[in-house]
């Protein structure tokens, strides 16, 4: 018994190490690249020894890229801000709309509930390209083209189905008798929803919100097609480092690192909440 568990521990350790290597190595490599210029990035063979430089970050943050012949203005920080703004607002709106709906589907079986739920999910089926051309035309007509409101609306296609279906599952996993008991004690529907159901589904909501945030963050095509240059997210902005005088790998890498940072910070912050909340099982058991 003892030897098996040692063997298992070793195997587990190896497995975790391999997994961390596979998933984290590219991130580490990008991180290292962000402190280099093409001169050292494009070496044969590649090497981890280099003199770190902050030029990439300086260029991104100051918005001035000193090129070979000219200074290039780049709007990376405003791209970053756009990403942040679009993702945060979309997810907020998505949560406000999606969580009550998810609760309704999970708790209140009503006529047509599954149909409505499926319809909502089905918006996720439509390939974005399919609706883009008509959408640009209609947005043009109703004045939503090139507005944040229009973008946040379209972003709901990404975030809402995700939030809805994940949160719904969590609501269904909460034993209904807790809410029932609370209702019996004379509390109204909204009070029950707010004080009991919401906190219990907290981790689910946090996880769904975080994932929706990531997917909104990574979106590319909507803003590109629907909005002008001043509303573009980092995903579009970072392509600006492919310039006529070569592709600036260092700057793209720095751009990626800067664009991961807010999401990662959010995840780390939510982690405590996620972890505490994930003791949901205890409630059930």
């Amino acid at each position: 018994m003892q030897s098996v568990s040692t063997l298992e521990r070793v195997l587990r350790g190896i497995a975790i190490t391999v997994i961390i290597l596979f998933f984290m190595f590219p991130i580490l490599w990008i991180f290292l690249m962000s402190f280099q210029t093409n001169e050292t990035i494009l070496r044969v063979p590649p090497s981890i020894f280099f003199e770190p430089t902050l030029v990439n970050y300086k260029a991104l943050i100051s918005g001035r890229l000193e090129g070979s012949t000219a200074t290039l203005e780049i709007a990376f920080m405003s791209n970053l801000y756009n990403s942040l703004f679009l993702s945060v607002t979309s997810v907020t709106v998505g949560l406000l709309l999606g969580v009550p709906a998810a609760y309704a589907f999970a708790r209140l079986k009503f006529r047509g509930s599954e149909d409505i739920a499926f319809t909502l999910l089905s918006f996720r089926f439509a390939p974005p390209l399919l609706v883009l051309l008509p959408l640009t035309i209609y947005f043009q007509q109703i004045g939503l083209a090139d507005t944040y409101v229009g973008l946040i609306w379209v972003y709901q296609l990404i975030v809402l189905p995700l939030i809805l279906w994940i949160v719904r599952g969590y609501f269904e996993d909460i034993p209904a008798d807790i809410e029932y008991a609370y209702r019996i004690a004379g509390h109204g529907f909204w009070a029950t929803f707010r004080r009991i159901a919401l906190p219990l589904a907290g981790p689910g909501i946090a996880a769904a919100g975080l994932l929706a945030f990531i997917f909104a963050w990574n979106n590319f095509i909507f803003a590109l097609v629907l909005a002008s240059a001043d509303k573009q997210p980092v995903t579009v902005g970072a392509l600006a480092f492919i310039t006529a005088s070569g592709i600036n790998y260092g700057q793209i890498a720095a751009g990626i690192i800067l664009s991961i940072a807010p999401t990662f910070a959010l995840a780390l912050y939510a982690q405590r909440y996620l972890v505490e909340g994930l003791s949901l099982g205890a409630v059930k058991g």
């Binding site: 494009l42 044969v44 000219a70 051309l133 640009t136 002008s228 240059a229 005088s245 070569g246 592709i247």
Partner: protein
Amino acid sequence: MYEREKRLAKSYIEGKISRRGMLRGMASMGVTAATAGVLVNAAATQALAQNGFDWKKHAGTTVKLLLNQHPYADAMIANIENFKELTGMEVEYDIFPEDVYFDKVTAALSSGSSEYDAFMTGAYMTWTYGPAGWIDDLNEYIGDSEKTNPDYDWDDMLQGVRDSCAWNGQPGGALGSADAKQWCIPWGYEQNNLTYNSRMFQEAGLSIPTNLDELVATAGEANSKLDGVYGIGVRGSRSWATIHPGFLSAYANFGQKDLNVGDDGKLSAAMNTDVSRAMHEKWVQMIQESGAPDWATHTWYQAGTDLGAGKSAMIFDADILGYFMNGGENAEAGNLSFAPFAANPDADAPTPNIWIWSLAMASASKQKDAAWYFMQWASGPEHGLFGATEMDFVNPVRKSVWADAGFTSRLDSSYPGYVEMHDLSAPGAKIHFTAQPLFFDLTTEWAATLQKMVANEVPVDEGLDQLAQSVDRQLKEAGLG
């Protein structure tokens, strides 16, 4: 501000002092060369303001541009204050990275948006935009002395380049024909020729290839003699962009065409001739033997990056790609040289297919006359000279700029062979494709076929026959064949 400097610039323009004298004077006032350039252009602009044209007609109007992130756009922006001063107009612009630029243009134009008045485009794209009704025929403006200033000098544009932007809209219609519409104004253009690493060529004792056979051999030699270097960079990604640079330039040099235009105006595939087969075979062999290992994913920037980083001995691609790789922080900056290239041993001169960054006017624009004011200034001789001498506005499309000694001597000093290469190739430089609406479908498939040939998935002759069949089928389906 800058009053003394402006006076100095003015006397330079009027020929009272030399350029060097002017620059020295400027330097003594603490003005850098680039700023001096802008000031000189300010003086030139002032001269322009005196030419009797009503420049202020649209004062107070704001035009909005859609621009690709490119040195041409940079050069324009650096000089934009002069335009504003000249006309009293405002200029706004949205810049998008090249990777997504044309998606943005297509989206903006197809939605009927009136947001952008003018935009940057390539000539190929106008084969879609023109028939789609998204852009205006600019002949109406160029020929109108009310709208175009007397010093615009349209005939100063290189003929092949100018014609390549004009098409009558008939599938298969010759570019630059008498009934052609000027869909866009050439701004800057690229010839496809050789850029080679002279350090490596010297090291390996290579000489400059003068036809396709020699190119294949030289690339092979470079590949084997130089350590960690592959012989030749050409594009290979699954895209129309793989066909139009070096490949089509070589192809056209053998007198080959992409499509035949019948007497009835019907189009049919023309790439399965014997000459084409032989050319394809050599091309495929060249890539297999000495092309980039990741050729099949190579776009222009990989081809360029590899050359600049010393991974390839030469490229057969856009001359300005070589130009940019010869500067900046590229490892091989300063080592690159340029040579014209005629693939066909029997050809008199190179016939580079060209890419033309140009300016087009959106039909949906609500202030076309004002937009044209911007376009004629931006494509005019003054800005052209400023951009070419002070910024990276190469290659200029105007003969007057190529005739400018300041410009050519600047090129000669840091880009050996560049001017010669250009001048030798310019007469044959034009778009060698047949203008028709399926351009992107057919060239993308052509690229995919090349990829299959290089990967030995299909033999060259069979691949070409399949391609020709598919092209004919698609042309028929679209009612063109």
